[in-house]
Amino acid sequence: MDNTIKHDFEPKIIAFVCTWCTYAGADLAGTSRMQYPANVRVLKFPCTGRIDPVFILKAFQQGADGVLVSGCHPGDCHYIAGNFHARRRFAAFRKLLEFIGVDLNRLQFSWVSAAEGGKWVEVVTDLTEKVRTMGPMVEFKELALEEQWSGAIDTPELREAYDAI
């Protein structure tokens, strides 16, 4: 049976989740046979506290159009307080992303517990649809191209300038 609607653009969503709450919540969505867009790729961490903001930057660089970070609800952390550290870290990190010009709608933080299969489906679906309407994230890809361009001397002008040094 194939009743999915074809879209022009399929966004790439990367989800960073903690193993105790959100990963288990996503497992529950599976066991309950709930359906959601296939755009999301899940990376499992022991705790949201382990998630380095660098991973989010890296994900955008690698062509992710949207990033989801999700863990245990505040106060429910398996590791006592890891999600509080994550929350503080990402509050600051969002400011930085905003400063460098990333549309914050592409980055979603949420709390999904092991019992919230439905919420996982909701969060993933919402983010996918939101990012789909926003279109591809080009800024980081352009930046990556620019880096490549400046790294390799592949034009006669550059070669000339380089040799002159």
Partner: protein, 665 residues
């Protein structure tokens, strides 16, 4: 060069229905480093596992990825199989293509593409996996129990009966706790002392229990299996070894008017005392604050009359260090005092109830002492003010509890039942008296509890009024209780002879300080937090520390005893092995790069990170670096994400592994 084996499971049709498993195997087979890729109907079955083991040996595989269900389901199964085939189990990873793919997507093309991505990601990850040896820690098979109430006594007896040594520390001069103070217990009306004191004696006589009364835990160092605990033995001023417990000192002591805390300050005791006649140990203590010799250097009668010469005014506090492998915390509760607004607390007092000002307004525990046959009145219900028998008595429920506006929102759990018991005890002792109870709801979950409560109304004639009391005031020798009956919708005024307040159950004073010494977490009321509210209700998040009784939350006696036995069972599980094995998912510090900022130490919720000094051969300090104690580390990885110089690494979740996964996308 790695030789990775990839095994794609059909899971019957659960995966293969929506994912083209053959195509996944073919695509993954093309990836660099993959030496072998196949699909099979049931990987977790015996033939499936044998296929895996055979392939590891025949293909000389170095790493394994099993693409099947969630790792929460079968990671252990496959890691075991891999280990049996001679590989380190941590070189095996699972790719979740069932719960996260085939079950949640219907489009076969989309699901197959996603499955290829998921497996590809895990292939890149597994390349960076390292051999992780299982961590083993030695276990000291002795345990510490903090608190000598019914919880601590039960835990200590259970552990000691299993043959392991127990150190029982109690702050007061005698064990027994609050249960020893109770008159009778609901719902059977057993005499509390009758069921409690034999257990106390068992503790005293048990060859495996070392009892420290009048002592406190001063310092806790170490980690699961290897704690070093410093205990302060407060100066008793009586030599425990010499004292025979004859009690002559107490009968001769001229100071007889000191309020006895055990009797809720309505009974009196001497300056050299045991808190109650059945005290264990039966060795008196000198209350130095009220002792004439310590104030004026005179008296000393007790010393003169003591036959064995046990009284020793020169005794000092001493510190004892004990090595233990597990700790059971059973510090219990205290009743909320409504005398005044507690200082520095968010809890607002109950000045309108006049407790502490009107002498005949007492709390539930004081009523227990009045009703107790061994209490200050010999079991007669008498007013503290004039010693008359109260003919009208009012009980007020939920004083402090379930009162968000007053600062405590939880239910104290035992008050409904003990008030029902109080009305019965009162009716048994004062036949012509009348008991009234102001209540919000009667909460009686528990075996035979509701029947007991109903009996208090139907047979023992207690009048229950649904509604709260707004004010109490003294009028002559009566106390006027102003309240409302919301069932009828009228204001009620009762002229009572005595009022008993069911004050909230709170953790012991100083519970937060002890928690800080132990490194365990507590909630805003200072109740200790269990590791998981449902599945790990007796363990702390800190490994090797267990909870029993009301220190974790309000509890009645049966629940406390159950939890204490459960905690003891957990301790015995820990002690069943000589060495403790644990998953090697722990953080490690790259010392060369560590600058010693200790940002990691600040964020570690487990206190697993210590400062370590690096010295040269001459012993000069080069630098201080962080060191992660693998016995304590829980493996959350918060330190790694925090480290500004990227010098802490969580094994199993290294930056290298994560970046490899992201780059695979």
């Amino acid at each position: 060069m790695s030789r990775i084996g990839v095994f794609i499971c059909h899971c019957g049709e659960n995966i293969s229905r929506t994912v083209d498993v053959e195509r996944v195997a073919a695509e993954i087979g093309k990836l660099s480093g993959v030496a072998f890729a196949t699909d099979y109907k049931y990987m977790c079955s015996d033939p499936g596992q044998n296929l895996l083991k055979k392939a590891i040996q025949e293909q000389k595989l170095t790493h394994v990825v099993v693409a099947a269900c969630s790792p929460r389901m079968h990671e252990k199964t496959f890691r075991k199989a891999v280990e049996a085939a001679g590989l380190n189990p941590f070189l095996c990873e699972m790719a979740n293509i069932r719960e996260h793919c085939s079950w949640v997507h219907e489009n076969r093309e989309e699901a197959t593409v996603k499955a290829i991505d998921i497996v590809g990601m895990m292939v890149e990850r597994v390349k960076k996996n390292r051999i992780l040896p299982t961590i083993t820690v030695p276990v000291t098979k002795r345990s510490l129990v903090i608190g000598g109430g019914i919880a601590g006594i039960q835990a200590a007896l259970d552990i000691a009966d299993c043959g392991h040594e127990v150190i029982l520390v109690e702050r007061e001069p005698s064990i027994g706790g609050h249960m020893a103070q109770l008159s009778e217990t609901f719902p059977t009306l057993d005499c509390s002392q009758c069921i409690m004191t034999p257990k106390m004696v068992d503790v005293a006589n048990h060859p495996k229990i070392k009892l420290y009364t009048y002592s406190e835990v001063e310092l806790v160092e170490g980690y699961i299996g290897n704690f070093q605990v410093t205990i302060k033995k407060k100066a008793r001023s009586v030599d425990e070894d010499k004292c025979t417990g004859c009690g002559v000192c107490m009968t001769k002591c001229p100071q007889k008017k000191i309020p006895n805390k055990f009797d809720q300050n309505i009974g009196m005791r001497t300056a050299i005392y045991v808190p109650f006649p059945q005290a264990v140990p039966n060795t008196p203590v000198i209350d130095r604050d009220n002792f004439t010799w310590f104030k004026t250097g005179k008296c000393g009668v007790c010393k003169k009359v003591c036959g064995p010469g046990a009284v020793d005014f020169e005794q000092q506090d001493t510190l004892v260090v004990e090595a233990v492998g597990a700790i059971v915390v059973a510090t219990g509760f205290d009743l909320y005092s409504i005398d005044e607004k507690p200082k520095g607390s968010p809890i607002k007092g109950y000045g309108e109830f006049g407790h502490g000002k009107i002498p005949d307004v007492i709390d539930g525990m004081t009523f227990e002492r009045l009703a107790s046959a061994s209490g200050p009145t010999g079991g007669k219900i008498l007013r503290p003010s004039d010693g008359k028998e109260p003919k009208q008595i009012v009980f007020i429920q939920c004083v402090g509890s379930r009162a968000r506006e007053k600062g405590i929102s939880y239910c104290s759990k035992v008050c409904c039942m003990y008030t029902a018991k109080h009305t019965m005890l009162y009716h048994h002792k004062v036949h012509d008296g009348q008991a009234y109870v102001f209540f919000m709801d009667a909460r009686t979950p528990g075996k035979s509890y509701d029947e007991f409560w109903r009996r208090s109304i139907e047979e023992e004639e207690a009048v229950y009024i649904r509604g709260m009391v707004s004010r109490l005031y003294q009028k002559g020798d009566k106390i006027v209780v102003m309240g409302s009956d919301i069932a009828v919708g009228v204001q009620v005024e009762i002229e009572a002879d005595m009022v008993v307040l069911a004050t909230a159950v709170q953790p012991q004073k100083g519970a937060d300080l002890l928690a800080q010494k132990l490194g365990i977490s507590y909630d805003k009321y200072h109740f200790y937090s269990e590791a998981h509210a449902k599945l790990r209700p007796v363990e702390c998040a800190t490994a090797g520390i267990y909870l029993a009784g009301a220190c974790q939350g309000p509890k009645d006696i049966p629940e406390t005893v159950s939890q204490a036995s459960a905690a003891a069972a957990k301790v015995m599980t820990l002690f069943s092995k000589d060495k403790l094995e644990r998953e090697p998912i722990v953080a490690r510090v790259r010392e060369a790069g560590c600058v010693g900022c200790f940002a990691c130490k600040k964020v570690c919720a487990y206190g697993a990170i210590e400062e370590k000094e690096i010295r040269d051969r001459q012993g000069n300090l080069i630098k201080a670096v962080a060191y992660v104690n693998p016995g304590v580390c829980a493996g959350c990885g918060t330190c790694q994400a925090t480290c500004p110089s990227k010098c802490v690494e969580l094994d199993g979740y290294t930056d290298e592994q994560i970046i490899a996964m992201i780059e695979a996308l």
